[in-house]
Amino acid sequence: MGMTMAEKMLARASGKASVKPGDVVMPDPELVIVHDGYVESAHKQLSDIGYKRITHPERVVFVTDHQVVYTSPLAISQGRTNRRVAREWGVGHFYDAGQGGHGHLFPMENGLVRPGMFLFAYDMHCTNFGAVGAFAMRVGPNVVSVLGMGSTWTVVPSTLRIELHGTPGAGVHPRDIGFWLSGRLTSGKLGVEYDYRVVEFAGDYVDALSLAGRVALCNTLTEIGVLNILFPPMSPTGAPRDASWVRSDPDAQFEARLTLDLQAFGPQVALPGGPDRAVPVEQAVGQAIDHAYLGSCGSGMYDDFRAAAQWLGDRQIARGVRLIVVPGTVEVSKRLAREGLLQRFMDAGAIVMPPGCGPCAGGVGGPLGSGEVSISTAATNGAGRMGAKDAQCYLASPLTVMASAVAGRIADPRPGRAAA
């Protein structure tokens, strides 16, 4: 019997000829990624048991994206500890503050994460790596097991295959598709299970997506409990295809298959509370905003900012609105600077921050006050995600966020619809 992409990568990593959904496996990861917010805790837990070294330090990647500009004495102390732990353990890849950028993005840019790879990571949005056809599994606090013992147990998931067809009109971005699809899945309207499932995308819409577009879909669906999102393999670095690039077999067993037509699809806004609380933008238009934010691991790539900057043109940010722009990676930031796009954002009145998570990581660098309203491309929007618990966090595509920042209220980015 054939296998899905996910099953092939898990089988190979587990040293097995084949696996099937429900199997308990101990995959051997090629990389283990831990972000700056968890290094100290992982080190303390292992030290308390007596570990002075870790298993396979050469595979370990520390990224610094949650606290890039230290905004508290605690963050300074944490940064110092992370540097000490990186030295003490001899980790193979240490990206300190100001290096690399967002750990869910730059490893694809620089080829650290490649198609066909299996890796473990602390943070759930490692699923971004499915955009290049790699399988990254979030292990959360169990990353301590992986650091100490080299692996941890997991369960082989079922796969849902979704074919996306059609070409949505102007003003529609892959984040819109992600919000809409998340809402359709969690509401049960698509009649399929999604929790702990892999979503494997295909179809002519997908074939035409850039890496940033793929990332947008990976990122949004992760928030509802999908285990992983996989696309056909691709290499952003131009590396040639090799035997590690895998696709599902023609006779692979998918738990369900869906085919969706996006032809008549319009921009969406996720209402405060969750990325799946998607409504057509028309239902949110007019809501006054205080804060807007472009960036995060869901919309932090060059194409996202270019699309927003093109929409912006020579317009200005509305008075009373603070727009925070956080390029996802150092390379993205440099390219935006080189091509004059950072200049365009700053000319319009935006605040540009260094690459990383930005305010999505608990409001760091750009928090919300009590009662404030934000619209952003953040990964998620639960209460208190970006500051005050009674702040309202709307999510939208880079185009809708840009249009809203200009209008001073939630606006429709489609041609002729934004009353800016």
């Binding site: 007596g50 002075k52 070294r53 979030r138 369960v155 929790d195």
Partner: protein, 176 residues
């Protein structure tokens, strides 16, 4: 390890999330793993007085999708420190991995258990067989037992116990 436990039930509903449910998000973000810091905040977002009512050995009884959302473990650490057990209708796989890592005994396929158990009921639970006796109501229910390989991990002390055993087998990891 004694797989039969007796204690009082604290009943919650469906879809109780870890973040902003079992544990406030700002406490989660503090990344603390110190149970004494976490215990006062356990379930405070749902019922600020619940943590004070919980006695060591008690059970959390919940409906479907218990520990929903991001699979953080601050609340699970606190539950472990209180020697609690979990009975719920369902739980996401990733949350269950966290529960096993903390060596918290749990039956996670207890269909409609919130209709069988009321808040405050005295229970006796055999995690090895899946038998739940409601000592207050005088009835029993048979649910799915813990799988043998999961029991072995919990018996070993969860993640910490397995790490300790690994270190014993690989003393080079304890060297400078």
């Amino acid at each position: 390890m004694d797989w039969i436990k007796r204690g009082r039930a604290h009943v919650l509903g469906d879809n109780v999330p870890h973040d902003a449910g079992v544990m406030a998000f700002d406490i989660v973000l503090s990344r603390t793993t110190d149970p004494q810091q976490l215990i006062p905040h356990l379930f405070a977002e749902i019922d600020p007085a619940l943590a004070q009512r919980i006695k060591p050995g008690d059970f959390i009884v919940a409906g479907t999708n218990f520990l929903a959302g991001k699979a953080h473990n601050a609340g699970i650490i606190a539950m472990k420190a209180l020697d609690m057990g979990i009975l719920c209708a369902s739980m996401p796989v990733r949350a269950f991995q966290g529960v096993v890592a903390q060596a918290v005994p749990a039956l996670v396929q207890c269909e409609a258990i919130t209709e069988f158990v009321a808040d405050g009921d005295e229970l006796e639970v055999d995690f090895q067989t899946g038998l739940v006796c409601n000592l207050t109501g005088g009835a029993t229910r048979q649910y799915g037992a813990l799988a043998p390989e999961i029991r072995r991990m919990i018996e070993a002390g969860g993640m910490r116990g397995m790490l300790a055993a690994h270190l014993e087998a690989h003393p080079e990891l304890a060297g400078e």
